[in-house]
Symmetry: D3
């Protein structure tokens, strides 16, 4: 089971100019074959299906805790897309022309099926599907797969970084490149530990050093490229048995974070987009009803949740 | 972001007779249109895409926290399938005939693609896909959808209960019927609160009372049909504003659990199935390597994780 | 637009022994690439998309009216599947084991997603999709396609006839082979009229004469292999301009039926299957509510509809 | 079975400026998850699969006759798309550059697979599929679904209305919003009648009154928002038992139309688009052949069909 | 089995201005329902599945050898797409904005999943799939299909010719129209030989003569519209038994080429596109490693392969 | 381009007892994610899309020539499936019950869509699709993928070997395990050469030595585990630059075969299966027509092709 913390893994910029075409490209990092849905679901199902957990505990702990971090990644990509779409559907609901600006966008369903929001699709509008999950149960093979998956994921993050210059997309890819790089490394180290093979010379893959990307630098400075979090109040204590040794590019020592998870940051409370009826054609009415209910339930007058733009 | 707790939401029986055909049917509850992947992903994306969170806080909290519980549901269905498949692939790896018993099973990929394990597919072997996610951003509409989704999900749980008599499947459906029923109710209540419509006479839907199912009774006895958990250390404090009033079937008062989540139970550590190479053709070797690494990392001699059959 | 007549194009036998495995094979004739969904939708969209209708009126009339007949074909295949599944889900709703008999059937979704009923899928459980529709707008090419489609459809009907010996399946294929044969011929004749090519020597395709199939004989005796119906109260008056000449196998003259459509037959009112909650776990309750509402609306005491087993 | 009437349910404007990008968006209303293919096929299969028709006759009649109206809706959406594409492929067939103007359109297959015409796809170019059909056989559940489906459909019609300002798209959505609204209401009323729940406060959903849309007004004036048609010469006599009471927004009384169907209007005979070979690279030749055949068949010299631009 | 020859079937122009939007349209000829993947795979599987090869040898030889030519066609379409994409990803790898020019292209995956290169998709970005393969085993039916498939393929080639004016696309379609026309004819002739039907009046289909296309003329001049190649060092000797008689448009005699295959032409060695890391972010390094390895293996200093731009 | 040789890469046994259920499992090796369609198409498209061929010639040669061998693998898997299905459809065409024996088989489409023959599907009946092709253009990444793909493929071959004991399936997997192992090794060596990483300790993967499989031994004896073929009359001369060094399991030296390809073996001429109309309901008629045509074309009286059972 999981507990949920209402914070993003890292800070994203506030909405600025909307960029629906860019947002359609960022979908690849969410619902693409190498997107975060794939990393999240692959490791999640591998952990569910893991046989002989006790016998192979450090490996189980590795896969299970990285899976938990990946939930935060789908959350982050979705938040980025939503940020980029904010401002593109502010017209009057029910009025001809209110969405005329986006009729030529690449992914119309972000507005028709969604509320100017992320979809579980890739950059060509194809839905993510369960066929993207590899979970053979053969530990060596699953780790080989995971190393390859992270390599493809790193490739796609680099491409989106090159392709989309919206500040939210740049912040997103800067962060994901650092943390995805840790996962890529973790699986390679696990595979080395299990077989004796030497994979460190495969790094960086693709052959572009992470520390050359300006948006990665602040995260590297904080050491985010070197540590794994357990992402659990009490479990997954054996990560250190497989995640250790020097970083293949910098030579710094890898380690397990003492804190359970990054501190993260509150999300922006994204404003209504009435032309797509999100959260409804008349957001004020919803607010009033919510206020009334909150009062009836004896809750404080001010909403209890924390948002970046409170 | 999430934290992960290495326990199942409820106890499942230990593996007994394997039942691959039954396990292929249970897949509907995992990767079917109305399976737990759908409930998990629908609410997760609705929470990601929620606009005006502060203004509509109690509704946001509801969707976000139920999403968190649903992760535990996919975990539970996967564990059930894995339990049911245990014992069906114990032959010698690399030997002709080692898997001959399952050549006629309904879902061969549970053995070919998986390690006698769950797949992200439905009962006809079709992968789950992102098209099953509805996230319009229009709060009333999303809640209408969610009520319908839970109704379809309850239907499918009842059908699987009728169809598969393996003890693990019966334990699973008994639990899911109770907790899914709470979610069905929660969305209906939210919709009532928001619109003034009266939906309570739609319960139970389908028209089969949960408390007639023997496997549901222990959970009902513990009050699991009446409460929502926050599934968060600190967030989602406003559930009481929408989840309240009498239960439509029993008249008992609905309430928010004081504890953050159910206590749950440790999972069984499922034994290797060497004929499908899970966790490898030679599980002992993996165990030895793991032991060596654990030692090198200064970990205790005994694995730190907790399992039901420790 | 259409008007609907609550009769089947031909009589089907009453439900007898259920045959879920056979019913899963018959799905190919409904949702397969060459099933009736494909013939129905191909001709329907070709008629919608037809350019220069007045200039090419006889061809438009041909495609549009055959499309109308094909609706009756999907109705007939669905009725056959439903007949074959009747009796397989009569257990007590909500009781463990009520559906145990069908856990090993080929298409479990006929029971989980459906109410012991037809799905929009093929014999391997794959959903029909819009990619099966060919509508190029180029008349010669569309007719070439339609001739090929009917050839594939005839092949599949023959195969199902050979494979499934349930009386309903035999009655279905006997009828469809005769009427599908007329459509195959109609498109070939249209193509001949348009180009001067001579296609009659391609008949029968596959090379199995229809009149050798015992179940086809009664329909042939009634001349159903020779005539086209307009399937419209007033439209599609120009069929005779393309559907004429001798039948390639029998030499009899083709003609346009004077009656608008076949007389057809009422459908059986299929009994409830409570184990799949169709029409509900408590069918009697629905009946009582319906009776009350009918009374309140001033309708006659006895239901007004006609069914075969009234 | 059905009879077909060669008229559209309502009048559409004649082709004017082509709008391929707009036409790609309108596809959502045809082949999208909430498009008219979905409403048509859902109700059609629910009527095919309906168990205990006599016992639940008014409900059967409701679903079956609405299904018939939906055929007219797919016809209308296709006609709209075709109208919008007319004029975009008028170049010389077989000449380089003849289609250069549309190489950058969103859905190239409207020109490559189709003859400047509608496809069975959504606005992202994904084919409609049978997975979109929900037909559980459980009457309450099917009605719940149908209410939800119509809600999603209304959302999408509103969005397309806002997004596409081509006159044909505006006429289409104006009409569909009114008639789809009736279906949404009919299913809600049926559900109320069956369960006693009170759903009227859910209207309008989404929360945008239909009568505020200028293009809806003429239809509302004619009372099209208040009545159901039987769409059958003789069947479906029991609609009044479930479709009755006041309209939730206007308070006017709902009723069953005396006429079998709307009068409708003839379709425009859309001109050839030679650059996509529709109806052929040399439309004149086809016309001459058709004329010759019509003559040989003793048909009147002038085509018998009726079109808006005769 | 096959042997591979490192030459294209015909010459393509060198890369010039990049045209990503055009390249997205050309994908239809690769991965579309009527693209070259379909012709290649249909004939390949029909040859694999052919029963009674000896008894029906000339037909087997026909299908098997045309299949071999089709491999050359997928190669040619891919080369065209790659040529058209060359120049669009020349920016600095790992630099923000390096791919900004293509963020609005129709198929972003040509850059994100591919290295500015062809994908196994159609012009709407949908992957080719095995459902497009028809292989009934019934010879007459397979030939009927193949004639129809080539007709649809010819239609699509003509449309792409009209739509995309990039020199590589024009060269491609000019060649494919001629050679695809031969296959269309070959299947029609085989069908005539087998049944006695007369299909020659169906040519050309669509009704646009190949010899009116300027880009086809050079190939026609060389007689490429009249001959079949065996595409085998020793096999497929019986083609003449089915491919013979006069060409339906020109009256010239069809014949079997004496040479095993066309001479073809070397491909251009397409330059690196570093912004998509093809063949890597630092192509020079790869070159140096390759040189070193070649030396160590005793290979000549200059690469042994032949390319057009050597 | 390719030339085709009408021989299989290795000998398969003659048809014996039919095994449709086993044949449905073997489909995984043809159309599964890790089946031979995937290996064939991945390497084929990587070779098509290869940038800087001259600069990276040995790597291009490697990928391009292995692609050619993979064609022989899809041919071999199809031949195996066809062999296993022979004998299951020998009934009288057009007769009820002729296919009754296979109505319960796992993949009915092998008989309905195919002529008792292979489909482009996996073991769950899902079509292969272009999404399974990875062709990033980044050489290191493509090689990483290919090593992983071959590992998954080896896993699946081992599983099918364990699961299906039909002699044809055993012969198939015995051969494929040896040759697929060579490809797995080739990609690992290429990756080592390019990066300096040491991957040899990953072998065998999965951890089951090939030489323990009895059906592999004859091929190992002939040295088939040590050599690469060029599969080209003249091209791909630089394989030795990347395929060299000792075999990781046996220590024997890897080498490039002097012969262009294995000698292979003629295929069995599989007998008609009249109940599925392959090659037609009346195979004799086809034979007579073929004989007549062959005579007219001046061909020798006896068919020129070579088959195993001549």
């Amino acid at each position: 089971m999981i507990l949920r913390i209402d914070r993003l893994l890292t800070e994203l910029p506030a909405p600025s100019d909307p960029d629906p075409v860019g947002a359609s490209a960022v979908q690849e990092l969410l619902g693409g074959k190498f997107g975060e849905m794939s990393t999240f679901m692959n490791y999640t199902y591998q952990s569910f299906n893991f046989r002989s957990r006790q016998g192979a505990r450090p490996f189980y702990d590795l896969v299970a805790s990285i899976a938990a971090e990946e939930f935060g990644h789908i959350e982050l990509v979705a938040a980025t897309i939503n940020t980029m779409l904010t401002g593109s559907a502010e017209g009057t609901p029910g009025q001809s022309g209110a969405l005329a600006d986006v009729v030529g966008t690449r992914n119309t369903q972000q507005f028709i099926a969604g509320g100017a929001a992320a979809l579980v699709q890739d950059s060509n509008g194809k839905p993510w599907n369960g066929d993207y999950v590899f979970s053979s149960g053969d530990l060596i093979e699953d780790l080989t797969h995971n190393f390859f998956l992270e390599t493809g994921a790193r490739n796609n993050k680099l491409k989106i970084y090159e392709m989309v210059d919206h500040p939210a997309a740049r912040a997103l890819t800067g962060y994901l490149l650092v943390r995805g790089g840790v996962h890529q490394l973790a699986y390679a180290r696990a595979l080395e530990n299990l077989t004796g093979a030497d994979l460190m010379k495969l790094f960086p893959a693709p052959r572009i050093p992470t520390d050359k990307i300006p948006e990665c630098k602040p995260h590297i400075k904080r050491g985010e490229h070197l540590k794994l979090y357990r992402f659990s109040p009490e479990d997954y204590q054996e990560l250190a048995a497989v995640f250790n040794g020097p970083h293949p590019e910098t030579g710094e020592e890898l380690f397990i974070a003492e804190e359970v998870s990054p501190e993260g940051a509150p999300a922006y409370d994204l404003p209504p987009q009435p032309a797509v009826f999100a959260p409804g054609p008349e957001p004020k009415e919803i607010e009033e009803i919510a206020a009334k209910q909150r009062k009836a339930a004896g809750l404080p007058k001010k909403p209890t949740g924390t948002v970046a733009n409170a």
